[in-house]
């Protein structure tokens, strides 16, 4: 698969659309972590995130012929499929009220009062943000996840989404404002 390392995602997507499975594999290598992190942020369940990541990649594989670039990166397409997959997941799990946040990897095992209090506060904040993400527009959500979870630069996000850097900055600003307000109201 090494010969595909020099190709950019759009070139890989073109090859993949023509049935080249190695190009598809190279694309998956690139997007595996960002897609998984996005799904984990929305589900907070490691096992479910693994299952959903698998579902997303198989869905993209089955629908790749329908991908149209329109100035956007293939990652934007993967994220759209991931978002819809997570929405379906929550529809199916609607009856489950309590979301288990105990598996978040940052949870401390030091059970001093201070740490316990901080962990509970953080878990409440995480739960509130998870709810608030539902209220963001699809673009705001993508920008926030790419920026703060996957550490893409504004330039990279602009290229991925086919937008200007200024538009990306505005989306980030509005998203943070909405998330902060939601958190303030919720806690």
């Amino acid at each position: 698969m090494d010969k595909y390392q020099d190709l950019n995602p759009r070139e890989l997507m073109d090859l993949a659309k023509n049935g080249n499975r190695d190009a598809f594999g190279a694309l998956y290598e690139l997007y595996f972590v960002p897609v998984f992190r996005y799904i984990f942020l929305r589900t907070k369940d490691k096992k479910d995130s693994e299952d959903l990541t698998q579902t997303v990649f198989l869905k993209v594989y089955s629908s790749i012929s329908r991908f149209q670039e329109h100035g956007k990166s293939p990652l934007a397409y993967f994220f759209t499929v991931a978002r819809n997959t997570v929405i379906d997941y929550w529809k199916k799990k609607r009856e489950v009220v309590v979301n288990d946040l105990s598996e978040t990897p940052e949870t401390s095992h030091d059970h001093s009062d201070e740490n316990l209090h901080r962990d509970i506060e953080r878990e409440e904040a995480a739960k509130s943000i998870h709810e608030a993400l539902d209220k963001l527009s699809e673009e705001q959500e993508k920008v926030v996840v790419l920026k703060f979870i996957n550490e893409f630069s504004n330039r990279e996000i602009a290229d991925l989404l086919g937008k200007s850097e200024e538009a990306v900055r505005q989306l980030q600003c509005r998203a943070l404002k909405a998330l902060r307000q939601h958190l303030k109201d919720a806690l």
């Binding site: 598809f24 595996f32 984990f40 869905k59 943070l176 998330l179 958190l183």
Partner: protein, 83 residues
């Protein structure tokens, strides 16, 4: 009053985003807003939740499994799984 507050929050967020891009830590950023510590802390709390998301790493075996699945089935078989 509300408009003033909105503008104030937007300015703080813009400034925080600039500092974030310069690699400042969350605690550094709070210290840089002595007059608006509460607002800054609220925004930091949002960023703090996202910071934890960066530590999440999926198992490599999952990717191998997905790639093996794709190699092992036809597009039509996968398509049928989702309709």
């Amino acid at each position: 009053m509300n408009n003033n507050n909105n503008e104030k929050i937007e300015k703080i967020i813009e400034k925080i985003l600039q500092l974030y891009d310069k690699g400042k830590t969350l605690s550094d950023m709070v210290r840089l807003f002595p007059e608006h510590q509460n607002e800054a802390k609220e925004i930091m709390r949002v960023l703090d939740v996202f910071q934890s998301g960066k530590k999440v790493v999926p198992p490599r075996e999952l990717l191998s499994q997905i790639l093996a699945d794709i190699k092992g089935v036809t597009e039509n078989e996968i398509y049928r799984l989702f309709i």
